[in-house]
Symmetry: C2
Subunit: 252 residues, 2 copies
DNA sequence: GTACGTGTTCCGCCTTGCGGAACACTCCAC
DNA sequence: GTGGAGTGTTCCGCAAGGCGGAACACGTAC
């Protein structure tokens, strides 16, 4: 697709291996080879290289398992510091959790393509939703994604929604038109909703966090098991999320 | 030094470029070339490759500047989740901050080599200390480092202190012997101290966070401007840090 | 105008990564 | 036991592909 074919193949595949380790760690050579579709010997070379670079360690025992080191952590945190989201959001997230008793997620949008869950405060209910920190969130299927899209100029929305839109369930927006229609609703009421559109059994509402120039830098989301989620609850949670987003935005 | 010379040169240099971007971002080609001692054309190729891999974006203006994307964030966060430190430490860190009114740092030790500041709660005083999240901390010169060393078996200490020990100031431990002597004190009283040994004008105390098997997974540190730091205050803060570390350890 | 400072492109030499295949090993079923 | 299906690791010859000096295009400072 994209222009520059001048990229180094070695590096690209090694980075893909690194990302796979991040997802599956602790993990062995064969599993990575399967997940990436790369020959085992090549994967092995990548792993050894990453260890020499200090990004991975091979954890002992009979079967060699690979895990990330603090180096990956260090580089990653520098990416988030630039935004300063976490610090700005922390106290408001706690208030929101106390008001709703549901799990609160903080999502970062890097202005380009990636949507990442950077922080989470857990619900105190016995039944609660769960995602791993660091997971990448789909733009079209999550309420955070659509809350952010609703604040972006049309050209950028167009670009972000190009390519295939993966369907996770019955309620995932089927195509670009469905998303665009939803965005009108989101713009009107200030928050986006998500009724099991991404992960099964999970409903959620999200509101965009905007910086000084009105540009979205991320989103805050409240997610609940579907048993505690219906139209009325969505409105209640949505209004709280919008208010929380406003307070957080004031700190950016 | 180390064994495997089978590592891929390309990848190693590209990762070094990536780390440099993390430190200096936003940053241009020439600055990176200077910092890493790599020819400009090679650095440029690395950057293009990293962009294609989705780890960097080139922010367009007159001068091309490079910054990390959320992909780096995502991978980095997965590294920290494995430890689960942040979640375990959050509430206790807040208590400790309220007790001391100084800046609290959470440091992660990945069991190998890297010591990274993963979280921070700021002091409410007008004069306060400051470090960037994600920065790598020296083992011998920081109180967190020495608090952790004090809990490690001799062989591992030996390995970690091999190589040159950088001197940051008059009070930085000069050599391995000086560190080893300090470790005895640390073991005796439970916390480590740091009187301007790493960063100028900053005093600090630190206590190790240990997992179920007693292995250190990180440290918690209280750092204060030297005006509010002397022997008495160090003891007071040290005891509070030790107690906080115990409470956090109970959650691991 | 001269002198540096950026970032970007080109191209021929020859290093270096490629990956199938063979290896050593552990576990499990029969 | 013996075979088979898993692991992770090593080898090696071929040629793909990365290297980096040099030249380029631009902007700013004096």
């Amino acid at each position: 697709m994209s222009a520059s074919g001048h990229a180094m193949r070695t590096v690209i595949t090694t980075l893909r291996v690194l990302e796979t380790v991040a997802e599956l760690q602790p993990v062995g050579v064969s599993a990575i080879a399967r997940a990436t579709g790369t020959p085992k010997s090549s994967v092995h070379r990548c792993l050894v290289t990453l260890r020499e670079a200090g990004w991975l360690t091979s954890s002992r025992s009979d079967r060699t398992q690979w895990v990330l080191t603090g180096r990956a952590l260090s580089v990653g945190i520098h990416a988030s510091v630039e935004l300063g989201l976490r610090e700005a959001a922390l106290s408001t997230m706690q208030e929101l959790r106390d008001e709703t008793h549901e799990t609160i997620h903080l999502i970062s949008y890097d202005g380009d393509r990636d949507l990442v869950v950077v922080d989470r405060l857990d619900s105190d209910e016995p039944v609660r939703t769960w995602v791993r920190l660091g997971v990448r969130v789909p733009m079209h299927a999550s309420c955070s994604g659509r809350a952010i899209l609703a604040r972006l100029p049309d050209a950028e929305v167009e670009r972000l929604l190009s390519g295939e839109l993966e369907r996770f369930s019955e309620t995932t927006p089927a195509d670009r038109d469905a998303v665009m229609e939803d965005l009108r609703t989101v713009r009107a009421r200030g928050y986006a909703t998500n009724d099991r559109a991404w992960r099964p059994g999970v409903g959620a509402v999200g509101a965009a966090l905007t910086g000084p120039q009105g540009r979205p830098l991320g989103a805050i989301a409240v997610s609940a098991p579907i048993q505690r989620y219906d139209a009325d609850r969505a409105r209640e949670l949505g209004l709280l999320a919008v208010d929380a987003a406003r307070r957080i935005g004031a700190n950016l």
